[in-house]
């Protein structure tokens, strides 16, 4: 039997004015202050003020603990561009780039598999498995890598069995890259997963329907679709590994001096120089800011449409 229905009643019209706009000016301010105040004070005291102090210190040459702060020029910055220091900055950037690429190569297939192919009910558990290392101390994890990578370590024992001569990885750049990639891989996987999980599978089907083989679909559809995720993940890993201190310190040895270690030396080393350390810190902040600006400009095309 056919059933006739009346057209559904029209939904009530939304009030043109929202509630908040009717409140008196003062109480709106108070509400926002309650919400943002505590974190704001925290940030102000522990981030903004120290950053300004560093900025001031960076303009004083040869300052040591106890000296009077008297900003007098850019000598500290010029010193940062001395060949020796440039090498250190360059090494830091190459470590960060290497780690980013390593995380991308290792992380993408994993995130892809978890997001698109793993059974749905296992996804959260699999992700958890990847985040688990983040719950242990990073110091502990670096020490674990020492026992694996050192000359008499686990790795060399195993490859020794099949007759490969021991590898000298410890206190060399490879050990730093391995340790850093391991440390930051979970971040990469998480961000790529979030991006891949939102990937519209119908687009992959449309691509196949139009004759694209799976590799072509991957290059022409999947990668462009998740590019914002790739950029965000890459940037996060790049920034955190640029300032990483523990991995280069424990796994890299004397030959792997990075900016972080150089800054550390200026404040807590044998011959402290707070001004130079502050200048290096400011440069590091600048470098990271440029990277973030690039991401905002080119990372997510959707944000601009």
């Amino acid at each position: 039997m056919s059933i006739t229905t009346n057209p559904p009643p029209e939904p009530p019209k939304l009030k043109p004015q929202t509630e908040a706009s009717k409140k008196p000016f003062g109480s709106r301010w108070l509400g926002q202050l309650v919400l943002l105040g505590p974190a704001g004070i925290w940030l102000l005291l522990l981030l903004v003020v120290p950053t300004l102090v560093i900025l001031e210190l960076s303009l004083v040459a040869d300052i040591r603990p106890g000296d009077v702060v008297n900003p007098d020029g850019f000598a500290n910055y010029l010193r940062a561009f001395a060949p020796l220091n440039l090498t250190v900055i360059g090494r830091s950037i190459s470590f960060a780039l290497g780690t980013t690429i390593g995380c991308l190569i290792l992380g993408f297939p994993v995130a892809y598999w978890i997001a698109l192919q793993a059974p749905k009910k296992w996804r959260n558990l699999l992700l958890l498995g990847f985040i688990l290392p983040l719950w242990t101390s990073s110091l502990l994890r670096s020490y674990a890598w020492i026992t694996i990578l050192r000359r008499t370590g686990v790795l060399n024992s195993i490859i020794g069995i099949i007759g490969i001569p021991p590898l000298e990885l410890m206190n060399e750049p490879p050990a730093v890259l391995i340790g850093m990639t391991y440390s930051f891989l979970p971040y990469m996987v998480l961000i790529l997963y979030a991006s891949l999980e939102k990937l519209d599978r119908r687009l992959l089907e449309a691509s196949a329907d139009l004759g694209a083989t799976p590799p072509e679909t991957f290059l022409r559809v999947t990668v462009p679709q998740v590019f914002p995720g790739i950029a965000a993940g890459g940037l996060l890993v790049f920034i955190t590994s640029l300032g990483d201190f523990i991995n280069p310190e424990l796994l890299g040895g004397a030959s792997s001096m990075t900016v972080a270690r150089l800054i550390y030396n200026q404040f807590l080393g044998q011959t402290p120089n707070w001004g130079f350390g502050s200048a290096l810190s400011t440069l590091l902040i600048l470098l990271v800011s440029i990277a973030i600006a690039l991401l905002l400009k080119y990372g997510d095309r959707d944000a601009k449409v």
Binding site: M1, D209, L210, G211, Q225, V305
Partner: protein, 376 residues
């Protein structure tokens, strides 16, 4: 360019002139059977619709033809060749997806060119064919736009162009007009018909909209619970439904449950469970024309006449009360409650003798050829 579509494809190996053939196809998802032994042939150049309520397996059937799903049992033939092992990117079919699935990071031009680019056509030919495909769907002025900047109807056209530019043997359409508003849907229906006639391509469309299926298709397969209930031309499906489901799903109808009391060549007498005696056309299948057999009579609302006084016929007239009458523009939609308890919908071009009060006493009647008995 599109007229030659059928010639550019390899000739079929078998003698059959079917573009798509499904032989006892089953599809099981995690223990749930979505498609149960579907058999159908889509003839070359035909506009074929698969019609059914949601969850009847019609979209799964289409996805099986496109290659996104592989059959759990049975065989799919495209142009006479088994396609069971052929991945979607090697099938000579293209799909217009339900909500278009356009590549939102590519311009309209790049969307349409996608299929040709992955097939490594030379650039000048790609440009040429994309231009003509966009002209075909009247979107040539929008080549540089992005899908997000287009309306639903425009996206629909781009999706059509993106599929057609590849000159498929079969065009698959998954609820192609479902996301459009009524007016646009009517426009696109006309354009789909025109495209089908101009290109001479085989179209297979999935829809839940019976009106759309009736107006566009050469033949319709009505599906329910993973099975095909009936395949036939729109007229056959509407006038000679084989099952109560088809009668009810295609258009409005009034159904009376009962059993066959008398039977001769041209008509049957059906006694309803409430005691009414109906004279209607016999069931399609002669085996079902046996006395005592359970059956359902279907009478379309537009076949019923409404009158104030008792009509001068001997059969098929019943007394009742008008429950309400709704003016619908082209017709008046009435609901009549019979004294025996049934509620009927009646469609009249105008109410008899002008105005009728609600609750007025009325008679409904129809001729012996206006109703049809269906086997249960």
């Amino acid at each position: 360019m599109f007229q030659s579509a059928t010639e550019t494809q390899a000739p079929p190996r078998t003698q059959s002139d079917c573009d798509v053939e499904l032989r006892k196809v089953f599809k099981v998802f995690n223990g749930e059977t979505a498609v149960r032994g579907v058999e159908l042939n889509v003839r070359r150049g035909e506009f074929f619709s698969i019609l059914g309520p949601s969850g009847c397996g019609k979209t799964t059937t289409l996805r099986l033809i496109a290659g996104f799903e592989t059959p759990s049992a049975g065989e799919i033939l495209i142009r006479g060749e088994s396609a069971n092992q052929v991945p979607p990117y090697r099938r000579p079919v293209n799909t217009v997806f339900q909500s278009y699935a356009l590549f939102d990071r590519m311009s309209v031009r790049d969307n349409v060119a996608f299929g040709l680019k992955v097939k490594r056509q030379n650039p000048s030919e790609i440009d040429d064919r994309v231009d003509r495909a966009l002209q075909l769907v009247k979107m040539e002025g929008f080549a540089k736009r992005f899908p997000k900047q287009l309306s639903g109807g425009q996206q629909q056209r781009v999706a059509l162009a993106r599929a057609l530019v590849n000159r498929p043997a079969v065009l698959l359409l998954d609820e192609p007009l479902g996301a459009l508003d009524l007016k646009l849907r009517k426009e696109m229906q006309v354009e789909l018909t025109n495209l089908h006639q101009d290109l001479g391509l085989t179209f297979v469309m999935v829809t839940h909209d019976q009106e759309e299926a009736l107006s566009l298709s050469d033949r319709i397969a009505v599906m329910k619970d993973g099975r095909i209930e009936q395949i036939g031309s729109p007229e056959e499906i509407y006038d000679r439904p084989k099952t109560p489901f088809v009668a009810d799903f295609i258009g409005d109808t009034n159904l009376f449950k009962g059993h066959i009391e008398e039977c001769d060549r041209g008509s049957v007498v059906l006694r309803t469970d409430t005691g009414l005696k109906l004279v209607v056309r016999p069931p399609e299948d002669p085996n079902d024309r046996t006395v005592g057999r359970k059956a359902i009579a279907s009478v379309r609302p537009e076949k019923i006449r409404l009158s104030r006084s008792a009509p001068e016929t001997e059969v098929n007239y019943f007394e009742g009360r008008l429950q309400h009458a709704m003016f619908m523009g082209t017709h008046v939609h009435c609901v009549v409650k019979l004294t025996s308890g049934e509620t009927l919908t009646v469609r009249q071009s105008a109410l008899p003798e002008g105005h009728l009060d609600d609750r007025a006493s009325v008679y409904v009647s129809w001729g012996p050829n206006d109703g049809l008995a269906l086997s249960v």
